[in-house]
């Protein structure tokens, strides 16, 4: 590293400190013995974690809504987006260039706009907030990541290897299944994981399209911190942090590659 290495290193460490500070605080607060948001925590206790499991609304939000919605979103988004990416890369048809940009549009529209628009849309269709409306919304925001990921993966494939398969007797379709798909493993897995996380962490859209029965974990945390504050909020947040950290580290280990946004 050049550019005045020492001052750069100091700046970088400082900035990372800035980035990690709030998270460290949240984790620290979760271990408080008292019900105040003390940081550093007065003592260490797991009471707030225990209390979470006594809150059915937390468990419901965490497992029944967020995790479930995340899984459904991950699968559907990967299917939709994967097929779309294959179409964009491997086929030529009129409107392909337009679709390439169109499919990525939800990435550039702020989520709050999507949330508001979807709220109105579902109201107009007389659909009350449900698991379905939540998942539909999440699929919308997650699919573009899949499209981009799989697109990049496909573009990086060596076409000659599939030609070799064709030369040895495989039809184009079989060559794709037998040769291209295995090489896309990392793109597909990271797509599924990404779609899950996008759904799991989303709040701006969920605030508009989730209802009393379908409160996601982030929405639950949002209302908790505003109305009833005790460190169980921090405990729930810590669980989320740990989950995400494990997933990111896992992906990095397996693919030794950066996950692009």
């Amino acid at each position: 590293m050049t550019l005045g290495s020492k001052s750069l290193a100091a700046a970088v460490v400082g900035i990372y400190g800035f980035i990690l500070l709030p998270l460290i605080v949240v984790v620290g607060v979760s271990f408080n013995t008292s019900s105040r948001f003390d940081f550093p925590p007065e003592g260490l206790s797991l009471r707030w974690y225990h209390s979470l499991f006594d809150q059915p609304s937390f468990l419901h939000a965490f497992l029944n809504v967020s995790v479930a919605a995340g899984l459904v979103t991950a699968v559907v988004a990967t299917l939709l987006g994967g097929l779309a990416a294959v179409a964009l890369v491997r086929f030529r048809f009129p409107g392909r260039g337009f679709l390439e940009a169109f499919f990525l549009t939800p990435l550039v529209v702020p989520h709050i706009l999507l949330g508001a628009a979807l709220y109105l849309y579902f109201a107009r269709l007389r659909l009350s907030a449900s698991f379905a409306t939540l998942v539909i919304s999440h699929i919308l925001i997650a699919t573009p990541y899949v499209v981009r990921n799989v697109f990049a993966g496909l573009v990086g494939l060596d076409p000659r290897i599939e030609e070799a398969a064709v030369n040895l007797g495989a039809s184009r379709f079989r060559a794709f299944l037998l040769v291209a798909l295995p090489q896309l493993r990392s793109s597909l897995v990271s797509s599924i994981v990404f779609a899950f996380i996008v759904s799991f962490s989303d709040i701006n859209v969920a605030l508009f399209v989730s209802g009393p029965e379908t409160t996601t974990l982030p929405v639950y945390l949002f209302s908790q911190i505003q109305w009833q504050s005790d460190p169980s909020v921090a405990a729930a947040s810590t669980i989320q942090i740990v989950l995400v950290a494990l997933v990111v580290a896992g992906l990095q280990k397996v693919f030794r590659a950066r996950i692009g946004i």
Partner: protein, 362 residues
């Protein structure tokens, strides 16, 4: 030239048009059973496109391709059974050596025991039986190439196509692989079409060479024919180095032509057939010009010149000679003690046999 055998592969009038003004062809040639034919030419000459047309990855705009008299170009690529060895081998990165070689056999729904027998036999043949469990990324370049060949050959194709397989290798490895390739091809006796831009490679490996330029075949012949009797200035210059001199035919006698070059210098070249009129191009290979021949020895052409630049090439010396009579010739000489002592300005007596002068019509 074998004329009574039936060719394994016949390309007739192949034309491939990319754009209104951009096309290659018409290209026609035949490859006979067991023959090793090279398609040789610079980048963009159409050799790779021709190969890909044979393999089925490009469609012909006009013309036809026949494999043992059966129309090939109408068949889809995966049904043609012509083996293709790619430039960067295109091994399946997610399969080990064994599975790579077995790939085509599995697709053909051949029985498991039969597959095992064939794959093992092929791996033994190419000397890879010990690494059959390794992944392509764990193999050396030479080993990868052998896997690529094994994979294609195990399918028992009628013809094998090679797309510049050695061009990514460094010199030493290339020479070694070249020898292995030739050995392998002799042992297997497969009809082979080999695309390359490296003329030394083509000369070393082929039974016949087709030289291409700008989408046309300039000449097809044995390596010797191509080298000693090039049909055009392009071929003469592309294969080896050549001195190309303009001259005028001023006489003919006993199967020889007398040609005047430069300012009054007369050279005699062997020639058969109709006497070309007017100006011609004379080709003389640098290594065929001698400057140390004793006066007593009979040779058709003698002329003198002054030494200009000397370039040391290790094994040889390249001499630029200003010939009396207004010519510039490149002469290649062995780098022995006497020749190394030459200095610019030295007077040289040059000689060349009439058989080594080749006439190209202008």
């Amino acid at each position: 030239m074998p004329t009574d055998r039936v060719p394994d592969l016949r390309v007739e009038g192949l034309v491939k048009r990319y754009a209104p003004q951009v096309s290659i062809g018409p290209i026609s040639f035949e490859v006979y059973p067991g023959e090793y034919l090279s398609l040789l030419g610079p980048s963009g000459c159409g050799k790779t496109t021709t190969l890909r047309c044979i393999a089925g990855f490009e469609d012909l705009t006009e013309g036809a391709i026949y494999l043992s008299d059966v129309r090939l170009d109408r068949q889809p690529a995966h049904k043609r059974n012509v083996g293709l060895v790619f430039q960067n081998y295109a091994l399946f990165p997610h399969l080990d050596v064994y599975e790579n070689v077995a790939f085509g056999l599995r697709l053909a729904r051949i029985g498991r025991r039969e597959i095992e027998r064939k794959v093992r036999a092929m791996l033994e043949l190419v000397g890879l039986i010990d690494v059959s469990q390794r992944m392509p990324s764990q193999l050396s370049g030479g080993q990868q190439q052998r896997v690529a060949i094994a994979r294609a050959v195990v399918m028992e194709p009628r013809v094998i196509l090679f797309d510049e397989p050695l061009s990514n290798l460094d010199l030493k490895l290339r020479l070694q692989m070249r020898r292995e390739l030739r050995d392998l091809q002799r042992r297997l006796g497969k009809t082979t079409i080999y695309v390359t831009h490296d003329q030394t490679e083509a000369l070393a490996l082929s039974d016949r060479i087709a030289v291409l330029s700008h989408g046309q075949i300039e000449q097809i012949g044995t390596p010797r024919e191509i080298y000693e009797r090039p049909a055009s200035a392009f071929v003469a210059d592309f294969i080896g180095t050549a001195n190309l001199v303009k001259g005028v035919v001023i006489g003919t006698a006993n199967g020889r032509l007398t040609i005047e070059v430069g300012r009054g210098l007369r050279l005699i070249a062997d020639w058969q057939g109709a006497v070309p009129r007017g100006s011609v191009l004379l080709m003389l290979r640098p290594e065929r010009i001698r400057f140390d021949l004793p006066q007593a020895d009979a040779i058709e052409n003698r002329f003198s010149g002054t030494l200009g630049d000397i370039t040391y090439l290790g094994e040889d010396l390249s001499l630029a000679v200003h010939v009396d009579g207004g010519l510039e010739l490149m002469v290649t000489a062995k780098s022995d003690a006497r020749n190394r002592a030459l200095t610019p300005g030295a007077k040289l007596e040059l000689s060349a046999a009439s058989a080594d002068l080749h006439v190209l019509s202008s």
